[in-house]
């Protein structure tokens, strides 16, 4: 009896020590991925990198190939009980947000997430780089840029412009804005703005990009004034902007995976919606030379695509 009294605590100590000495391993998780359309390259990249960052069993649903309504999805969720639901694209998020799920829902590749019906358990990665990130990268490439012009509408970007101008001031950059009330005001605004600025920064604005010819007019006017165009999307590539600072899609997937790991680990992130953490850069060297811009050549290591 005395012998048992001594050995039992000893065995317990040995067992506890053995358990504690096993290195921490990433716990296997069950998760569900719903893609609006997995044939879209950007969505595919998000999903691939997300799955690469997760360990565990997954259920993957491609809404472009599978007929799935709220009832069918609810049944799947009840059956599989995933710990996290990852949605790629607006359609996937809107469907997932209609089911009753205990698991948090993470979204990526959504245009203007502010329109989404977000609840307490919805999280995501925004589809746009914050103004300050774009400005930092503009300055990284062109440290001598001091005056940047923007044409915007008060309806869509009043607040955004004010915030961007504040951030710019901190970096020693002056943002010169021209507010338009309708697409008809674009040409006149460009005519007064372009002679005053070192570069023109294009931001997403439905009134500014009202039609294809408006985009053509912007690029043509800037080129006439020898003003570099800096923009946010590779969709502008055919118009030959000098610099494109776009969201890096593979990073978005990895970022969603980190967010998922933290959520299933019981943490609540400080931000419900995070800005994207990675950027993808296209630089047109011919334009840099044509406009006589002073390029920080060490920034060339950051370029994904160099055009000549």
């Amino acid at each position: 009896m005395k012998h048992t009294l001594f050995t039992l605590p000893l065995v317990m100590i040995v067992l506890i020590t053995a358990i504690l000495s096993v290195p921490a391993q990433t716990k296997e998780r069950s998760y569900m991925v719903i893609s609006s359309d997995a044939s879209i390259a950007k969505y595919r990249q998000n999903q691939m990198e997300f799955s690469g960052g997760m360990i565990g069993a997954s259920v993957e649903i491609d809404l472009a190939r599978t007929a799935m309504d709220v009832t069918a999805l609810q049944k799947m969720l009840d059956r599989d009980q995933p710990e996290v639901i990852y949605t790629v694209g607006s359609r996937a998020f809107l469907l997932a947000s209609k089911v009753e799920a205990k698991a948090p829902i993470i979204f990526t590749s959504v245009v203007n997430y502010r329109r989404l019906p977000l609840i307490n358990t919805s999280f995501g990665i925004a589809g746009e780089l914050p103004a300050a990130m774009q400005l930092t990268l503009f300055r990284h490439f062109f440290p001598k840029l001091t005056t940047i012009g923007i044409v915007y509408s008060g309806q869509y970007n009043e607040q955004w412009f004010r915030k961007a101008a504040q951030e710019a001031r901190k970096m020693g950059v002056r943002l010169v804005g021209r507010k338009i009330a309708s697409p008809q005001g674009l040409t006149r605004s460009l005519a007064t703005l372009l002679p005053q600025v070192d570069a023109l920064w294009l931001v997403a604005d439905p009134l500014v990009f009202s039609c294809q010819s408006a985009v053509e007019d912007i690029f043509s006017a800037a080129d006439k004034e020898q003003v570099a165009v800096l923009t946010y999307s590779k969709a502008f590539r055919p118009f030959k902007p000098t610099l494109i600072v776009a969201v890096d899609d593979p990073t978005v997937g990895r970022q969603a995976a980190v967010l998922a790991s933290r959520l299933v680990g019981g943490e609540r992130p400080a931000m419900q919606v995070q800005p994207p953490a990675g950027s993808s850069i296209l630089l047109d060297m011919a334009k840099v030379e044509q406009y006589g811009l002073q390029l920080n050549s060490t920034a060339l290591a950051s370029v994904n695509e160099l055009l000549e």
Partner: protein, 273 residues
């Protein structure tokens, strides 16, 4: 008739054999520079290939081949003894445990051939132990990041390092901005990137603070599995070296994060990785 056929056959075989030997000789002289970096995730492979092929292919049967995965690079390196390898100094050391690799050139940036790696946060006076479980943004490969984190925080801090969530981003600047804008709590980057980031963000609120520093590593290294370089490899080495002599060539090197080369034999590599 028979004799004529025999002569024809012999001539045909001779011609075919000679052609094969010429092709084989050409293949032997074809030199490819394979490139992989553990310190950046910028997917610039198409531009790098186009730019370096322009410089190399115009002067011989030489080519440049960036590779996006470490394992593929390592397999290619082992299977191609005539290739030249452009890789990080940490990766070179790792590969040297498995195969003979001899450094030829080391990259140079603004006169320096090495760089420091640092761990930064957005809070002042933080200790390594305050970072348990945080998200660290970095452009480094997971293996390399782990090595640097152990250097920076202490070799006995394996558990702390295992608790981190690693957010892999394309480049140093993305890692630093991730901390500045709240997507990560810490960043692992080169010190030179950190310095330029601080210069771009003079406002106090955006400033980051160094909490740990890893050992210095040499900039990218050009290496060969041959101790004595065959003439074709020497030609490629010369082409790469001379790229630093003109603006266009220098721009191409800058896409790799360097602006020139130093001879490895002339540097003191002691203590550097």
């Amino acid at each position: 008739m028979m004799l004529s056929r025999l002569i024809q056959k012999t001539v045909f075989i001779l011609v075919v054999t000679t052609a094969c030997l010429v092709v084989a000789a050409t293949e032997v002289n074809k030199i490819t520079v394979f490139y992989y970096s553990t310190e950046t995730m910028v997917s610039n492979y198409v531009s790098l290939k186009r730019e370096f092929d322009r410089s190399l292919a115009s002067q011989g049967d030489f080519s440049f081949q960036p590779i996006s995965h470490a394992t593929t690079f390592e397999e290619v390196a082992k299977a191609n003894p005539d290739a030249l390898l452009l890789l990080t100094s940490w990766h070179l050391k790792k590969l040297q445990k498995e195969m003979d690799l001899f450094p030829i050139l080391v990259g140079e940036r603004q006169g320096q051939n090495s760089q420091s790696h640092i761990l930064t946060t957005n809070k002042e006076n933080q200790q390594g132990s305050d970072l348990k479980g945080v998200t660290i943004a970095t452009a480094y490969s997971a293996d390399f990041a782990r090595t640097i984190l152990l250097d920076a925080l202490g070799r006995d801090q394996g558990f702390l390092v295992d608790s981190f969530h690693l957010l892999v981003v394309p480049k140093d600047l993305d890692a630093l901005m991730s901390v500045r804008f709240g997507m990560a709590q810490a960043a692992l980057s080169s010190e030179s990137s950190f310095v330029s980031f601080q210069q771009m963000n003079p406002a106090q609120e955006g400033r980051l603070h160094v909490v740990g520093r890893g050992e210095q590593t040499l900039l990218p290294i050009l290496a060969s599995s041959r101790q004595i370089l065959p003439s074709a490899q020497q030609e490629v080495v010369a082409i790469l070296r001379h790229m630093a002599d003109n603006v266009a060539g220098k721009h191409k090197l800058q896409m790799l994060g360097i602006d020139g080369w130093q001879s490895y034999a002339l540097i003191g590599a002691g203590g550097e990785r």
